[in-house]
Symmetry: C2
Subunit: 173 residues, 2 copies
DNA sequence: AATTTTTAGTTGCGTTATGAAACTATTGGT
DNA sequence: ACCAATAGTTTCATAACGCAACTAAAAATT
């Protein structure tokens, strides 16, 4: 029984989970944002076995989140850096850190503070907002079938608007 | 060799990864936000084996992300719902979905659209911002030791400010 | 009221992934 | 030329996964 994959699912979160959804990949990405670049620096920083690290670096490269490139010019040694796609995880990583800061460590007890280099002050807490800037909770939104919805349910943006008026597919908590 | 845990690490991301850092937990949380509540609904929705689902629901309860409660009043059957701590993952889940929408499916091809119930329009893309509202990239921030930094490096907010002026511990990408 | 179906799990077992240590090969420093 | 560090790969015991079969209680159906 080969291990189950989520890759075939037409779902953003399934795809995200497949790309970075294990604890080692998450720690490697965190380290990459932190500025860690070399194999042994990753290994030392997160205490991962070298064979597993090797595997995960390969996985993250295949998903175009990390890229392996020669260190400096003309060196045959290499380093791992975030791609554009990887750097785009910035809001995800920040939101996750803020969540743990608040809900695991408690406010004012976070081991690491993320600071804006210009103002030298902690960054703003990420919030979900409507197009016009109202702060939203889970009760204020719904999930609707999008233009890339699977198979026969494919629809245009206009059709999504229509489906929203007549119930949509989302749910209230 | 027991499986390695990140629980002892004094790091927000390690704690977050330990709590929700595997693909099944992520999918269960996504489903919970979507409104899924019962054991079999989770199983059908994400195609997970029942023994693994059982384990993960237990894990998420232990981390106070999900709570098990009787369905309706006086019923002996139960359902799983997000706790306050679980609901606080809202920005994380939204940021992750937006990332995959853009970088895996491509804009305008997302299978699911998250819509503001009031305006009936897609929600705003989450961004990292400074305290005064400037949009920040990874190059605009640094990581500094916080008040809860481990062991001997513990310091006050004032000391963090001071350490920032003299180099800090963060890095540039 | 008796029967069937659904729900919510648990148990057993073969297969896969992980983790520690040992091993290799290349590079950098002295 | 020598020694240490870097960047992995290989080996093997053990833990976790995944399927199928099983159980027990509640809900629905006859």
């Amino acid at each position: 029984m080969p291990r189950k994959s989520l890759e075939h699912l037409n779902c953003s979160w399934a795809q995200a989970a497949e790309a970075m959804g294990d604890k080692w990949s998450m720690m490697i990405i965190r380290d990459a944002f932190y500025g860690v670049k070399t194999f042994s620096a990753f290994a030392d920083s997160i205490g991962i076995s070298k064979n597993i690290l090797s595997q995960r670096l390969e996985h993250l490269q295949q998903h175009d989140i990390l890229a392996k490139r020669p260190i400096g010019t003309g060196s045959s040694r290499s380093e791992y850096v975030l791609t554009e796609k990887g750097k785009a995880l910035f809001p995800v990583i920040m939101a996750l850190g803020q969540w743990a800061d608040h809900w695991i460590f408690g406010d004012g007890k976070a081991p690491i503070v993320v600071v804006d280099l210009e103002e030298r002050k902690p960054i703003k807490t990420l919030k979900v907002e409507s197009e016009d800037g109202r702060e939203l909770t889970i009760r204020d939104i719904t999930f609707a079938a999008g233009p890339g919805a699977s198979d026969s349910t494919r629809q245009t943006v206009a059709e999504v608007e229509a489906s929203l008026k007549s119930g949509a597919i989302g749910s209230k908590l």
